[in-house]
């Protein structure tokens, strides 16, 4: 949905990093994306190619690493890992889960020249 804005964020962080670290070209960008971040990977890949044009990361390969979804169960008060946003608690079967992680959208690292 907002993958274009996210890629503009990626570009801005990369451009700042290029100034700080003195590189002129990026060959690979690795992102960490939580399962609940709502990021549509094909849309992200498309937006990435478009938004990076004319930047130091033009033509860079994009790699997206999945991070698991975590939630606090209000019934058994334990932190559990869940695959889908509306899953029940794998420990007690309760349905009241508050997401505690899995909404991450991070730039992990860059391969630069």
């Amino acid at each position: 949905m907002h993958e274009m804005s996210l890629c503009e964020g990626v570009r801005s962080v990369i451009e700042d990093a290029a100034l700080a670290n003195g590189f002129s070209s990026v060959s690979r960008v690795r992102l960490e994306i939580g399962r609940f971040a709502g990021v549509e990977k094909p849309a992200m890949a498309f937006a990435f190619d478009v938004v990076m044009r004319g930047s130091v990361a033009e033509g860079a390969a994009l790699e997206m690493i999945d991070l698991p979804g975590r939630a606090m169960c209000y019934d058994c008060a334990k932190e559990v890992e869940i695959a889908h946003r509306l899953d029940d608690c794998p420990l007690c079967g309760g349905g009241k889960l508050m997401p505690m992680g899995g909404d991450e959208m991070r730039i992990k690292d860059l391969e630069v020249t």
Partner: protein
């Protein structure tokens, strides 16, 4: 052998370590910096800001107009200002100004959400009063605005009874990040074959801690509870601001954290 002593501090198969730069930076870090700046300005003023989020047509602007009328009618109530977000037109800001309130319209063009930078500029235009309310009506969209911090104190989700009880299950993110949900248009419930308890159950399914108020901006039913909640939260904000101003404070943890997570940041204008 130690693989973690190169410039990247880590070894990744297939990647040359000399040319690997570890960033570990949030993609939205720049937005978060703007949002934190807005939050600081609001905190210094003791102003309480809500970010109103919902799908298009839930009745956000009508609810806001009614809220303003009721606040205006109460003697000695706090001043307020409004930021209106829409893709196009200034219609909503004009509706708000018709109530006598100060409002600025932000058009996002093709953008699907307000961001921290837009709201910061809008706040400069508005000249927010101390100890006032700031209402930010986001673009009608149940997806993207959930991810963009504006510097508000909390998000308020508006869900109208005509939208279907499973809306919170279909679009969980927005209801998860909201502190309170306003179940609007309850006057229409008898005509829509809807189950209000099921709305509440589904809201709690995606956010067990959410507070739910049933109301109708059109008839005024339930609006007093909403106004009481606003009143209570504004007072709580005043108290926290006063507590922060009293001596023996070692402030700055949030600032330290933001610089730690943003090592290479250079904030633009």
């Amino acid at each position: 052998m130690h693989f973690g002593q190169g410039p990247a501090g880590t070894e990744v198969p297939g990647m040359s370590q000399e040319r690997l730069i570890a960033l570990e930076t949030d993609i939205l870090a720049k937005n978060d910096r703007y949002a934190e700046g807005n939050r600081r300005v609001l905190g210094n003023l003791g102003a309480f800001a809500v970010n109103l989020v919902s799908s298009p047509g839930s009745g956000k602007t009508t609810l806001l107009c009614k809220t303003i009328e009721m606040l205006n009618a109460r003697a000695g109530d706090a001043p307020l200002a409004v930021i209106e977000g829409d893709q196009q037109t200034a219609n909503d800001a004009e509706r708000i100004r018709a109530t006598g309130a100060r409002a600025v319209q932000v058009n996002t063009g093709k953008g699907c959400h307000l961001d921290g930078h837009m709201v910061g500029h809008a706040m400069e235009h508005l000249e927010i009063d101390p100890a006032s309310y700031l209402f930010i009506e986001n673009v009608g969209n149940l997806v993207c605005p959930a991810g963009f911090d504006l510097g508000e104190d909390c998000k308020v989700a508006i869900l109208s009874v005509t939208e279907g009880e499973d809306k919170p299950l279909k679009y969980p993110d927005m209801f998860t990040v909201s502190e309170i949900a306003l179940l609007n248009k309850v006057d229409l419930a008898p005509h829509c074959d809807v189950d209000l308890d099921l709305y509440e159950a589904n809201l709690r399914r995606v956010n067990p801690g959410i507070r739910v108020l049933r109301l109708s901006a059109r008839t005024g039913e339930g609006m007093q509870d909403w106004l009481d909640w606003l009143d209570q939260r504004l007072k709580a904000k005043q108290q926290s601001v006063q507590a922060a101003e009293t001596p023996a404070t070692e402030t700055g943890p949030t600032e330290t954290r933001s610089t730690e997570t943003f090592p290479t940041e250079t904030l633009g204008a």
